[in-house]
Symmetry: C2
Subunit: 224 residues, 2 copies
DNA sequence: ATAAGTATAATTGTATACAATCATACGATT
DNA sequence: AATCGTATGATTGTATACAATTATACTTAT
């Protein structure tokens, strides 16, 4: 009847258990396995140096995440994502990121706010220098801080999932001018949270995701 | 490279594959397995007449759904849901049901609208007669129609998951006066959709979930 | 030549066997 | 008596074996 801490989950990601799961997940999101491609249990197993058992368990989880589609007695197929799916996900994310920003305004700690501020200033620097990799890293971290700061395990789980999910289609979105504009939006969100303006923070976070989507569509990245 | 239809997923739920998964899920949601209870693979397997393999696969899926927490080499424990978790989920659902109603307004078919209207009138009848079981059934169906009518696989998947999820805490919410009030809200949502008033439909659906939550808290059902 | 039917191969579904890890109890040592 | 160490049992992690299903190729009949 022991009450194990949820933090266990986080470490699991990088420990032995779930290694297979995350590797396959990564390979789907990175585009190594194409849409509608059939994944064979033995083939994947050999590639990862394991038997079918852990692969099957990973397949079942990936199906639940919507990344795989398993047809009984036939096979596992990489789920096809249509441009409408992407649009829907961004609209859903827009609402949830807004709620996250609202809750973060209420619950953010001094340390988290400091890191948020530092993040924005650092991103300014790297945007000016054209360091796209660091910019992408900082963008990820900015949202991650908010996910933690909203102080809701439920919302955090959803948003982390979606955030990883959209990496599949978002890869090069921060390149070009969007990087600087995006960080300017980050700054405004940060300022609103700092000023404890919940409504403004929510509205800005809403719009931030919509803008990211619009930019992605403009660059023609939505039809993968 | 065959393109299997998503409808396969639906039938799977009730076919052989996933039987174990749904049974265990049901037993957790129904409260048969208590919070923090440890589930043993062999014990569950014997109870369902299967070996450990399908049970393990189900465990992995249930962990991803947040219903189980698996600690490596130790065991699977039923996830404890705090009252804050419940509150968060209802807030999240409120936003998503609102979005669903908005999209349903844009995409609902004639047949779906008819069924929605019929649903409301039928529920009126059963509410007056005090038929609580039928009322609960109609409530489920009302939301289900909206999930289908919003015409978004992504949003539907989320909302169906949450809807089943909250059954764990919602069981007796429709009893008492809430049944009639709830159906009056259904009627307003339906009318707004019929009038193609997206904003109103969204707002009403938002409030509908908030009201359900407030009622649940008032009745003291949130601390399970 | 085409189509149906059958046999063979490949793949998934499930059960079982073995390995690794963890919990518990007992005993030895201080 | 308390504590550490070891041994034993229980449980999970993984691999493999077998069963069931599906896909493919070949044969045969029209």
């Amino acid at each position: 009847m022991a009450r194990y801490d949820v933090k266990q989950e986080v470490t699991d990601k990088y420990s032995l258990r779930g290694r297979v799961f995350h590797k396959i997940r990564e390979d789907i999101l990175s585009g190594k396995y194409k849409e509608y491609e059939e994944l064979k249990e033995v083939a994947i197993g050999e590639e990862l140096g394991v038997s079918r058992t852990p692969v099957r368990e990973a397949f079942r989880q990936l199906e639940l995440e919507g990344l795989l589609q398993i047809v009984p007695n036939k096979g596992a197929y990489v789920t096809g994502i249509t441009s409408k799916d992407v649009q829907d996900i961004y609209m859903i994310r827009s609402l949830l990121e807004g709620l996250c920003a609202r809750w973060a305004t209420e619950n953010i700690t001094r340390e988290q706010l400091d890191e948020l501020e530092e993040n924005v200033y650092l991103a300014d620097f790297h945007a000016a220098k054209g360091h796209m990799e660091q910019l992408a890293e900082l963008d990820n971290r900015f949202h991650q801080i908010l996910y933690e700061a909203c102080h809701s395990k439920q919302l955090e789980r959803l948003l982390v999932d979606y955030h990883e999910y959209v990496l599949r289609v978002r890869k090069k979105t921060l390149a070009g001018r969007r990087g600087q504009v995006s960080n300017e939006e980050h700054r405004q969100i940060m300022e609103a949270i700092k000023a404890k303006d919940k409504d403004k923070a929510e509205m800005l976070a809403n719009q931030h995701i919509i803008n990211a989507y619009d930019n992605m569509v403009k660059n023609g990245l939505h039809d993968m």
